[in-house]
Symmetry: C2
Subunit: 405 residues, 2 copies
Amino acid sequence: MSPDTERGPISLLTPEARSALDRSGYGSWRAIATADAVSLAFGFPYPESLPTARLQESTGAVLDDEGERALQYGGGAYADRLQTWVAKRETDRGIDLTDRDVLLTNGATHAIDSVCRAFLDPGDVVAVEAPTFMGSIRVFENFGVDVVGLPVDDRGLDVDAFADRLERARAAGDPTPTLVYTIPNFQNPTGTTLPEGRRVRLLELADEYDFVVLEDDAYGDLRYEGEPERPLCALDESGRVVRVGSFAKTIAPGVRLGWVVAPDPIRDAVDALAAGGTNTFTRSVVGHYCDAGHFEDAMPELRTAYADRRDAILAALATHMPDEATWTEPDGGFFVWLELGDDVDTDALLEEAIDAGVTFLPGSMFYPNDGGENALRLSFSYAEPDEIDVGIGALAAAIDAHRRG
Amino acid sequence: MSPDTERGPISLLTPEARSALDRSGYGSWRAIATADAVSLAFGFPYPESLPTARLQESTGAVLDDEGERALQYGGGAYADRLQTWVAKRETDRGIDLTDRDVLLTNGATHAIDSVCRAFLDPGDVVAVEAPTFMGSIRVFENFGVDVVGLPVDDRGLDVDAFADRLERARAAGDPTPTLVYTIPNFQNPTGTTLPEGRRVRLLELADEYDFVVLEDDAYGDLRYEGEPERPLCALDESGRVVRVGSFAKTIAPGVRLGWVVAPDPIRDAVDALAAGGTNTFTRSVVGHYCDAGHFEDAMPELRTAYADRRDAILAALATHMPDEATWTEPDGGFFVWLELGDDVDTDALLEEAIDAGVTFLPGSMFYPNDGGENALRLSFSYAEPDEIDVGIGALAAAIDAHRRG
């Protein structure tokens, strides 16, 4: 391709499309995915968690009961029930759906993308926790916006530091964000949870500085201890929070179903912009699955299995890691964030780790700009507890070799 | 909502999002969909065409064979096979995939939307056949572009008239299109097919005036007589055609799977911009279905059943319509376009038709601007042949009453 030619189809690509082409970056992922090593790299649910038998049963029920509606445009009763089920569950979390509504989407990324389409113009500022989920950074970058990273600590987004920054920006006449993206529960990649005080303060800032808060709650259902924090969407009194959820971690990534909760007019705008509607076949199957109680029935086992993995990784880190290493201790979710000494470059460390028999994702992947060079994300969701211990041992050996080498 | 307030979340919506909110318009559809009348309104496959038993069988096979991969991020072998299967079928149509590739999407609308994201900036011109599929008009409008309608006749897009218009635009220094959208086979809503000579001429114009041709081939598989025309994508030598396909009419709308065929760099840009990836569960099920030969096995029966419906509607039109009515005679697809006398307003006629026992879509819905006021689209895909005859009889009665009234 020759993106600089003055005519021809490549020259007709938008600036955002050309920029997306330039950010390939997924090449190295294949090496990680196919490595013969303990996988602590990806936030994949462990294989036995995927409810194959029950989804098969639900598919049978849907196709027997109303196959000709479930496969038609619009779907039938089971597709509708999923909407009802999600709405009830969001209400149970304290979210008032009087002037808000749920919109089902083709997964959480589709949900986030559709919200971005409603709010983002090129040149806008989007503020994110730094580090944050790299998939979302990519989505934001597709809109030609300026993605800026906000400081985090072991309780998530440092809201006071953000307030100072907003005040300085206002004083200097610099642009403030149109949208602030947060993963408040068991954040990806740090595993931290934003306490209620910070949530309330963030909403005050949203009001004061006129921005939208995009709450990505992909992991909120997977709490292994302690009491749940109230969603930002439940605390929101001014209609500034747009909330995104997903079945990827609680049923299966492959069903690719998520949702948006937003004030009615925003929900309608997102709906008008989210091209093409949902997959009524899968939506019907998942509607049956949830309606039959399988979702709730599966949660205790999921939580126990993930808690065992979380315990295993924390124990292994305590056993194997060098003194100067620090890591987060999540109450839920899939991830631990590990910071190593300043002499470690985790991009370079990855190759040695693969050779030693373990994979992870380097910290730099989770920053919109620079950052995270001596940090890395460990996902404890996929490997077995005893594999995790082996993997962390291998990681310690790789760190040791990296420093000597 | 108060879209004119100067702050608050509604004020943060993009201009395109606000404009999308203003174009509601789907309200009247519910009245059509729920009417107790013969449905000639929507392009729905007839219920018995939906392969419930075989999709159930394929779901069982996928979940038994590789459930833990089909439900995981990325999918497994069956998901991959669908890509291979589509690529082979496109190659069989004469499309050279040496420097092109197939990208699976969450349905054709998602495909069209993703292509638009790659090429359209606000203010660009998109040229469409007038009339054309209203769902695509909506997608284009979401990008803040100027959608202009091009004249059509009984052989589809009038390419010579388009050439004249392009020449005049160039002479006047007016903008020419960035993208031209065409449904070359059994067009929605006219049922017409673009002959090869016009296809070649359109590609010459694309080269001369530097635009992309978006070929939407939703109906190409459903030809009931005559020889297939070669796809624009097969005739394209300069990499200007982006082709879109779908399983909505040949398997089921509810599986929501489509694809894009595009030159490699364009395919990569579309992939980077199409948020979220495909539904690996459904993709695996459809991959098994196609790989097992069910797609090809189903086609003869589908074509026969649709041809019977096409014959029924043409016979009924000949029997019941007033002298001044004219209509298209499609060789495939789902639609007949009916033009009535200038004294008939089909928007107003619809209510009387529903009372008389039949539904259709008024012609004005298929124009980006004005047009089609005395025309309407009849879909023969859903109703049984004998119902179709009853429906066209009812339509004739409604037309008669409309003129008297």
